[in-house]
């Protein structure tokens, strides 16, 4: 009987002690917010295109960091972004659902533009300029190619063009002798997991 009493007492005391220590630690090491959100946000392409189903890049980053959202929803970021986020989060990479298209640019056919400013309101990065009843123009340097301006245009005068490739931005592809075999296999391997 005393044995049992001792056992219960000692175990109870011990558990209480551990609990107190942990409670104190919880106060000391309290983490405010989630530092992962900014880290993930920094990896996203910031097109704010909403193709991930969230109203922008930051909301998606928040969802990935704290709501366990999948890492493969960013369409413009493509595989590279997916791998980077998966790596950061320490989760298995998943196949991207949609191949990232070549980088695009919006272009306003100015003679058809009626100057309604609807596209200006739609642009998430303020890359379209123009006053009401004036032709609007897309600032090519700032356009992220998100296509959000195409839908609102009442006269369909916005085209999405492929961004021209510059010779200065050209870079060597992997050598054709053994074309990316390893990297390729590795990615396939990861994709297989998903």
């Amino acid at each position: 009987m005393t044995g049992l009493l001792y056992a219960l007492l000692s175990l109870g005391t011990f558990a209480l002690l551990a609990g107190i220590v942990l409670a104190v630690a919880q106060k000391v090491f309290y983490v405010e917010g989630d530092p992962m959100v900014d880290k993930i946000d920094a990896l996203l392409p910031q097109t704010q295109c909403g193709q991930c189903g969230y109203p922008g890049c930051k909301p998606y980053a928040t969802a990935v960091a704290s709501e366990g959202e999948e890492v493969n929803h960013c369409v413009p970021g493509g595989e590279r972004t997916m791998l980077a986020i998966a790596d950061l989060m320490g989760v298995e990479p998943k196949a991207v659902e949609q191949e990232a298209a070549a980088p695009m640019l919006a272009f306003v056919r100015e003679d058809e533009c009626i100057g309604c400013t609807l596209c200006i309101k739609a642009c998430p990065v303020d890359a379209i300029i123009g006053a009401p009843k004036q032709y609007h123009t897309v600032l090519a340097d700032h356009c992220t190619g998100c296509e959000l301006c195409v839908e609102p245009c009442p006269v369909d005068c916005i085209d999405m063009l492929v961004k021209p490739e510059l010779i200065e931005h050209w870079s060597w592809p992997l050598p054709e002798t053994r074309r990316s075999r390893l990297g390729h296999e590795r990615r396939e391997h990861h994709a297989g997991h998903a």
């Binding site: 060597w172 050598p175 054709e176 002798t177």
Partner: protein, 355 residues
């Protein structure tokens, strides 16, 4: 078809095949000595190992749907030769075959083939054999018994019987033709409390014999002279650099000198360590295997020192009489980290490493 490749468009002419062939050539003196010492047994062992390595490699390549031309890079043949040279003369044929298969499959092909293996294939096979068959792997035939009356190793049929059917078929007791290796002898005596010098005297150990190759050991590791010739040839042909062999041997020698100076009864002298066992073979041919050793000179020196410390420690304190093979394998594990931390100083950078 024009394959667009970046510069340079000129090549120095070195090739993998030639590098591997150079190592095989460098091993010829040791192989020749082994044939002289162990007669047809050595020939059979070398042939079986090389052929089974080549065959295993061929099967692996076939299974993975790769071109068989890879066989021509000579690396499988080299692995076979190296493995054979680390085996005792009385190794039965099936053990040699099993070892070769281990070497090629577990040592090399599972990692993706030549260039990707982490452990030296021949050594890993040798260690697997040692741990699986400790008795056979430590039964040393008396060298020069080629011409002794007990058994004539220069006689092909005798050797065929020995090799394929074992000593029992000749009604030979193992004791009649085998003896302990110097390292094994010293270790046994030492555990019995006999001072090293006395143990060596009982053994009739001769430094000259060890240098030329007449002390007991695996077929290719007995002759220090032959291995030195091969090592110097490799360095002259720029197949290996001095860093690993020198730092390895120097570390063993320094440690041995230090401790045998302090306590000569317990620790063997440096010359004994340098000449005994597989040290020379490991230092010149195993530790310098480029695939499983560090890339940079500083890294190689660190690697050599590590091998030296481990070899001497295992020999002096460990359960196994010989530590060279284990120490090279152990250091193989550390190669990626050594490569990372001992990179050369980059032009224009301070000597301190960032990471």
């Amino acid at each position: 078809m024009l394959v667009m490749l970046s510069s340079p468009h000129m090549h120095g002419g070195d090739s993998l095949r030639m590098m591997m062939l150079t190592v095989i050539l460098a091993l010829l003196p040791a192989a020749a000595v082994s044939v002289y010492l162990f007669g047809w047994l050595a020939v059979l062992l070398i042939l079986v190992c090389m052929l089974s390595c080549l065959a295993t490699e061929a099967v692996c390549l076939k299974l993975m749907g790769k071109s068989l031309t890879t066989l021509l890079d000579n690396s499988a043949a080299l692995t076979g030769l190296l493995l054979a040279l680390t085996l005792p003369a009385l190794t039965p044929w099936w053990m040699a075959v099993v070892g070769s298969i281990f070497a090629i499959v577990l040592g090399k092909q599972v990692y993706g083939g030549l260039g990707y293996n982490i452990f030296n294939p021949a050594l890993s096979a040798r260690v697997i054999l040692l741990i699986s068959f400790p008795l056979q792997m430590t039964t040393w035939i008396i060298p020069m018994s080629a011409a002794t009356p007990v058994v004539n190793l220069y006689d092909l049929s005798t050797c065929l019987t020995l090799f394929f059917a074992g000593p029992d078929a000749l009604k030979l007791g193992l004791d009649a033709i085998s003896m302990a290796s110097p390292l094994g002898h010293v270790k046994t005596e030492w555990t019995l409390g006999v001072p090293v010098a006395d143990a060596l005297a009982h053994y009739h150990y001769s430094y000259l014999g060890a240098f030329l190759g007449t002390e007991a050991g695996s077929i290719g590791e007995t002759s220090v002279l032959a291995l030195l010739i091969g090592g110097v040839f490799l360095m002259a042909r720029h197949s290996i650099t001095w860093h690993i062999p020198f730092s390895y041997l120097a570390t063993v020698a320094v440690l041995a000198a230090l401790f045998s100076g302090i306590d000569p009864d317990h620790f063997a002298p440096p010359m004994f360590h340098l000449f005994a066992g597989g040290l020379m073979l490991c230092a010149f041919f195993m530790a310098t295997d480029p695939v499983s050793s560090p890339v940079t000179p500083t890294g190689q020196i660190v690697f050599g020192i590590g091998c030296g410390v481990l070899t001497w420690s295992i020999r002096s304190f460990g359960g196994y009489p010989e530590g060279a093979m284990f120490s090279v394998l152990l250091m193989n594990c550390a190669v990626p980290l050594i490569d990372h931390y001992f990179r050369p100083r980059v032009y224009g950078h301070e000597s301190g490493r960032k990471s």
